[in-house]
């Protein structure tokens, strides 16, 4: 049971933290239409986080709610991968991260929708439609920037090089991923690699060499970026605990 709690929390944390990162673009997107697109993706991800947290809360029982999970945990309690918490950077960086992340999330939810845990299966099936769009949208942008001007190619390539080492963590199992209903992340690595390689070919980007990683983020060992993200995200509910709209 405790493994399932950790796993559902992990799924929620990935969605919430990347959702929050993307929400930082709201009002700052490169053009109005893309500002709306990235904000929509944020809302999709935060919606997925809510579903996972509600399930976590029902498993934990007691006073736990989706809000206590999001707002009243410290950085060490979060299990999201380090990739999700990195700063949004420039547009190329945000696009590349979204593409690497969504491609992985798409495979993960595709497996998870057949899970023996009916609640997880239902959440994954619902979220899969959203993630399919995120992946399509971000893949097109990767190609657009990679196969665009010299400057756009440089920027998307820089983003790829700096983020690639962080992708290893996606496939290194943490303790809570070792038994069903968790999906063994190692089974996702091969198809993920094939998918991103194909898009990179079209984008004229060179696939970096494989790297080893650990599961730091999944075990609560985060970069300082998560700390500052949480300070902003949790500020209001922590300062005014019973605040309502």
């Amino acid at each position: 049971m405790s493994q399932l709690i950790d796993y559902t929390c992990y799924l929620g944390d990935n969605a919430l933290i990347l959702g929050h990162r993307n929400s930082e673009w709201c009002g700052h997107g490169p053009v109005l239409e893309q500002d709306i697109a990235i904000t929509n993706i944020s809302l999709d991800l935060i919606g997925q986080a809510r579903n996972f947290y509600q399930y976590t809360a029902s498993l934990k029982g007691g006073d736990t709610t989706e809000d206590t999970l999001a707002y009243h945990r410290d950085a060490a309690g979060f299990r999201n991968v380090l990739l999700a918490e990195q700063p949004r950077g420039d547009w190329a960086y945000t696009i590349m991260r979204q593409f690497l992340f969504s491609s992985w999330q798409h495979l993960l939810y595709t497996s998870l929708q057949h899970s023996s845990d009916t609640q997880l299966a239902a959440i994954a099936a619902k979220a899969l439609k959203e993630v399919t769009y995120h992946q399509r949208w971000s893949a097109e942008w990767v190609v657009r920037l990679g196969d665009g001007t010299q400057l756009s190619h440089e920027k998307i390539n820089t983003a790829l090089q700096s983020m690639w080492p962080l992708t290893a963590e996606l496939f290194v199992p943490a303790a809570f991923e070792l038994a069903a209903p968790a999906i063994d992340p190692k089974t996702l690595q091969q198809p993920w690699h094939a998918q991103v390689a194909e898009v990179f070919r079209e984008a004229e980007l060179t696939l970096p060499a494989a790297v080893d990683g650990n599961s730091d983020g999944k075990n609560g060992a985060h970069t300082a970026y998560l700390e500052t993200l949480l300070q902003e995200m949790q500020y209001l509910p922590r300062t005014f605990p019973n605040a309502t709209w």
Binding site: P30, V31, L32, E33, Q34, I36, A37, N40, Y133, R136, W137, E140, R144
Partner: protein, 122 residues
């Protein structure tokens, strides 16, 4: 360099791909991208309706932008996009000759038929 803002009004189709108020903006990309007119069909069986316009680099991006901008609240099941420069519009200066002659020809309206009560939606 002097740049004069030109304002377009709803329904106007600018000829040079820069819709709306063409005052220079900080984002050059927004004005580099052509303008697209967006048509959405709200239900199967209904027709596509013009809902507005947006900027996009190509047709596929225009469809995705339209999806994000105009169908967030379940407004549609189908999207058409047309680059604005391919739309030819009638000129307001010709309104008199184009439309006014129809004003006094009431016989063109099918209002002289007696309809049975059973026919409701005519």
């Amino acid at each position: 360099m002097n740049t004069f803002p030109r304002r377009f009004f709803y329904g106007d189709i600018p000829g040079d791909n820069t819709g709306g108020d063409s005052t220079p903006t900080s984002t050059a990309a927004a004005t580099d991208w052509p303008l697209w007119e967006i048509f959405i069909r709200s239900k199967q069986g209904l027709d596509h309706k013009h809902v507005g316009s947006l900027h996009a680099a190509d047709a596929r991006m225009a469809i995705e932008n339209a999806r994000d901008v105009y169908t967030r609240r379940l407004e549609g099941v189908s999207i058409w996009v047309v680059e604005s420069r391919y739309i030819h519009a009638s000129s307001p200066d010709e309104a008199d000759s184009l439309y006014e002659p129809a004003a006094d020809k009431i016989y063109r309206h099918p209002t002289f038929y007696q309809l049975p009560d059973e026919v409701n939606h005519m």
